[in-house]
């Protein structure tokens, strides 16, 4: 009994210490789903094949096309070589320009950035087209979006090649191979951000417009073409995301984006592929604008608007001209700048963000926001998107962004002063005449009604 009495306080002390240490471990590592910012939902829409200068080269205040830009039509670039100046694309026919790794090098010209036209001409493409740019006449919604939210003008594609490698960087922080192609055996043992989210129990989805679950890298053996869905969704070339229902069930049709918003089940992290509206030439940018506008508006209509951020970016440059020489951080990239816009209730208003970013900056934001370890060196070293947010201010109320850039034709209306003067004068005039009539009429002589007979009226 004496022994028991002696050890009882020790037991309690031990229990107390244990419980305290447990509390400490929980507070050091945030609960799954807990975020370091008010952003609880991130939606990434990765479009295709345009450069920053191609979409926003003439956007005021942004790092756009320098004055007097004129690029030689051939790679020889002699003093007498004719050159092409940037021009508005207008009704110029858009074609799919070469955007392979070799084309990048030919256009990049070791950082001189003067081979854009010549590289394409050499491939018997219309090199002039690379100098065409879109502006607010062509992509009014994106320009309006930039006016109201954040436009990044120093955002680079991660790799100086096409979609596959850039999209691999966007979900793994790695290239996925030496070439811009899907290996025969698929991408093996490369951890993705979705693996990390799954491990932590954080919700995620990959929305694909017109998703066909039958199409994955295994089907390539029987197909004589590469379906875009397989090419642009690296998860469909990873066995575990095809075979493990716990993972594959997160790859869904885009229509679920709207039902998730309606039902309040939008995941913490969403990646979106808008097949058929990715703006990949020869596709019309209007299709992309309509779909992204609908996405944004539906997000604004939902309950999660004030805890969400939606980023629109483009996987690679698509062969179009951009004047900024991309920093080479490793042997894969960066590639040329691509457009990127951030929409959020916490996004700075009409802000041009000059922070150097690339697709792995998305991973950086996810990792910092949901307390996830970096996947690779690229994302570990990437800059974060946080400079685009202002978390010190109250979240902005949703305001639908117009799809029209031009101010609607002014309605036929008078200046208000005309109405005030015209009608005010009329009232004053009436008052004067009526008072005058009243004064002129000698009321004393006016016969009272009961005294009136037809005979008493003055003749």
């Amino acid at each position: 009994m004496m022994f028991l009495k002696k050890i009882t306080p020790l037991f309690f002390l031990f229990t107390l210490l244990l419980s305290t240490s447990h509390v400490g471990s929980v507070s050091a590592s945030r609960f799954a789903g807990e975020t370091s910012t008010p952003i609880e939902h991130l939606v990434v829409v990765m479009q295709q094949n345009h450069t920053f200068d191609n979409y926003f080269g003439t956007y005021p205040e942004a790092n756009g096309i320098p004055a007097n830009t004129c690029l030689a039509v051939s790679l020889s670039n002699g003093p007498d070589t004719p050159c092409i100046s940037p021009f508005n694309i207008g009704s110029y026919p858009v074609t799919d320009l070469s955007h392979s790794a070799s084309t990048f090098q030919a256009q990049y010209q070791n950082g001189k950035m003067n081979g854009f036209v010549g590289a394409l001409n050499k491939l018997n493409q219309d090199g002039k087209l690379t100098m065409a740019y879109f502006d607010d006449r062509d992509i009014p919604f994106y320009w309006n979006l930039a006016d109201q939210y954040v436009l990044f003008d120093n955002y680079f594609s991660s790799a100086h090649t096409g979609s596959i490698m850039n999209r691999m960087f966007s979900i793994t922080g790695q290239s996925g191979g030496e070439e811009n192609r899907i290996p025969v055996e698929g991408f093996v043992d490369i951890p993705t951000i979705f693996d990390r989210l799954q491990e932590r129990g954080i919700s995620w989805k990959y929305y694909i417009r017109d998703y066909n679950p039958e199409f994955n890298y295994r089907a390539l053996r029987e197909l004589d073409y590469l379906p875009p869905q397989i090419q642009w969704v690296p998860l469909l070339s990873m066995d575990r995301f095809l075979d493990d229902p716990e993972l594959s069930s997160h790859i869904v049709d885009f229509s679920e984006y709207y039902t998730d918003l309606q039902n309040g089940t939008l995941p913490a992290v969403s990646y979106v592929l808008l097949l058929g509206a990715t703006e990949h030439p020869v596709s019309d940018p209007q299709l992309g604008q309509i779909t992204t506008r609908t996405m944004i508006q539906t997000l604004m209509q939902s309950d999660v608007w004030k805890s969400s951020a939606l980023l629109i970016t483009f996987d690679d440059w698509g062969g179009w001209y951009d004047h900024v020489s991309p920093p080479q951080v490793d042997k894969y990239g960066y590639g040329f700048r691509v457009p990127a816009m951030l929409v959020s209730a916490y996004a700075r208003q009409g802000y041009i963000d000059h922070t150097q970013l690339d697709h792995t900056s998305l991973l950086k934001f996810i990792e910092s926001n949901w307390d996830i370890e970096p996947l690779a060196q690229r994302d570990a070293q990437a800059n974060n998107l946080t400079s685009a947010f202002d978390f010190s201010s109250a979240p902005r109320d949703p305001v639908f962004i117009s799809a029209l850039r031009e101010v609607p034709e002014a309605r036929l209306e008078p200046r208000r002063v005309v109405i005030y003067i015209a009608y005010g004068s009329a009232m004053l005039f009436a008052l004067i005449i009526l008072l005058r009539a009243h004064r002129k009429d000698n009321l004393q002589s006016l016969p009272r009604p009961m005294d009136l007979s037809e005979e008493t009226r003055p003749s």
């Binding site: 506008r293 799809a403 036929l412 209306e413 005309v418 009526l434 009539a437 002129k440 009604p449």
Partner: protein, 532 residues
């Protein structure tokens, strides 16, 4: 019979023989007369104000009120509303201009309705002046009392409509015309021109009363009119009308006026031929009409230019609007003051009808007229009282009051859906209400793409499928009032809601009385969110 015999009871009371001390007697008599006169008119005015203010703002605007207030807000440069509502529509802007002066201190539906009430009450006073001028103080008081409680006038002047101001000025014109007929002083004829101009500026349809003036001068041979004075009166009338075309022309908008004229001329009838017959007499009061007509018949021997004036003032609008394809509940309101005066005349001049035994007859006639007048006034009051209570049927006739649930739905929209969102309703009526209260652009699916078949103010949605598919329209609004009028467009809107993943995000209900007499909440407005 000498017209002096037509004195009313009060006239006889107020014109007693002078006492011995002339100065003191005159003062006392004047004092008493003035007090009685003031008390009677004060009672009438209080009744008029009370009936018009009671529960004035318990139901929000109807479509016309929303449009006129929206115009006023646009003139006052109210944020957002100035971009939604165009300044120019079909009508001149005198009332909207007046309202804009108030809206400079803030846009409010209550302010707008208070202005309408003030105009209505002023009209009651002008009717009193008119009745007094034509048939004596008692007839004036009785006519004003009839107007004060007449459901037709009460209903219309509780709303932000142009007909209330138009009737104020048309009644003023009638008063000025009577004054000219009494005195034949040119200055009153000139004033008639001013009055007609004001009537036009309040609402252009008031111009048809020129026909009544013409008929009166043409057929009342005892009234002399000099061409020079008539011409000057016309010039003054035209000068008064100038602000309407002037503001249009200065804005380069003469085309707008032309479009409205074409539309009005060629639009399809909106009601059957018997619309006025079935709605207006009840609103004016069957008894009022019967008594007025009886007076014309029974007192026909005493009929003078006065009755010609009043009868033409009634006939011209009735004939015109019966023929005019577009019909509206409130369009015949200008005839109400004339009818009220005629009814007042009959009741106060009852004693003039074929007296058999003069003293008995006089006593009886007082009782009869008091009884009939009392029944008539009580009846009018009861109907008005019933009319100003919130509707419990879930149906709605344009011009008869506010639209239950419309304001609440609009305010919900303003607070809960993103700025710059666009709505699609069944018809433009609900669109106008939601635009005013919701501060969001709204289109009516029933607006015809054919310019000849639509109000030029309304923009059609040529391809609703496309605009929803491109997410240019994000909300559909169904309402029971429009659905009742157009089942076709109601079904079309609901089909769009089904096709584009429509989800009900808000429902406005009103308490209605069901067939078994119980009160149930009936959904009157349903808002759907749609996306491609």
């Amino acid at each position: 019979m000498d017209i002096k015999n037509l004195f009313s009871i009060s006239e006889r009371v107020t014109h007693r023989p002078l006492p011995n001390n002339p100065a003191a007697g005159v003062w006392k008599s004047w004092e008493r007369t003035a007090v009685i006169r003031f008390a009677r008119i004060a009672f009438v005015m209080c009744l008029a104000i009370g009936l018009r203010l009671w529960g004035l703002n318990q139901i929000g605007f109807n479509t016309d009120e929303a449009v006129y207030s929206g115009q006023a807000a646009a003139i006052a440069q109210a944020p957002i509303l100035k971009d939604i509502f165009p300044v120019f529509r079909a009508h001149p802007l005198l009332f909207q201009f007046s309202l804009a002066l108030l809206f400079n201190f803030g846009v409010s539906d209550l302010t707008a309705r208070l202005l309408a009430v003030a105009i209505g009450v002023a009209t009651v006073y002008v009717v009193y002046c008119l009745g007094s001028l034509l048939y004596g103080e008692d007839a004036g008081i009785l006519a004003a009392l009839i107007m004060a409680v007449m459901p037709y006038h009460v209903t219309v002047t509780r709303q932000v409509l142009l007909d209330g101001p138009m009737v104020l000025f048309s009644t003023l014109t009638l008063y000025l015309l009577a004054r000219y007929a009494l005195t034949e002083r040119p200055v009153w004829l000139h004033a008639v021109g001013i009055g007609m101009g004001l009537t036009f500026l309040a609402k252009e349809t008031g111009i048809i009363l020129i026909g009544a003036v013409y008929a009166f001068f043409a057929l009342a041979s005892e009234i002399n009119v000099r061409i020079r004075d008539l011409a000057l009166s016309l010039v003054l009338m035209v000068a008064m009308m100038l602000p309407f075309p002037l503001s249009l022309i200065l804005a380069g908008g003469s085309k707008v006026g032309g479009q409205y004229l074409v539309w009005q001329l060629f639009r399809r009838p909106n009601h059957t031929w018997d619309f006025y017959l079935t709605t207006v007499p009840v609103a004016i009061g069957i008894l009022v009409i019967i008594i007025a007509l009886l007076g014309l018949w029974l007192l026909r021997k005493q009929n003078t230019w006065r009755e010609k004036l009043l009868v033409w003032w009634i006939l011209v609008p009735v004939v015109f609007f019966q023929i005019w394809p577009t019909k509206g509940f409130q369009y015949l309101l200008p005839i109400a003051p004339a009818l009220a005066v005629l009814a007042g005349r009959m009741l106060t001049h009852w004693s003039a009808i074929e007296p058999s035994s003069r003293s008995n007859h006089s006593r009886n006639s007082v009782w009869i007229s008091a009884l009939v007048g009392g029944i008539m006034i009580l009846n009018l009051f009861a109907v008005s009282w019933q009319t100003i209570q919130p509707g419990t049927s879930g149906t709605f006739l344009a011009g008869t009051g506010g639209v239950p649930g419309g304001r609440e739905a609009g305010q919900w929209i303003q607070q809960n859906i993103p700025a710059n969102a666009t709505l699609l309703t069944i018809g433009p009526s609900m669109a106008n209400i939601l635009e005013f209260y919701g501060y969001r652009k709204a289109y009516g699916i029933s607006v015809s793409p054919n310019p000849l078949h639509r109000n030029p103010s309304y923009e059609p949605i040529n391809n609703p499928n496309l605009v929803i598919r491109t997410n240019d329209i994000q909300y559909l609004v169904w309402d029971s009032y429009s659905a009742e009028r157009s089942a076709f467009f109601s079904e079309r809107l609901l089909a769009l809601a089904a096709r584009f993943n429509g989800r009900v995000i808000h429902t406005e209900s009103v308490l209605v009385t069901s067939e078994d007499g119980t009160q149930i909440a009936k959904p009157v407005i349903v808002i759907y969110m749609v996306h491609p």
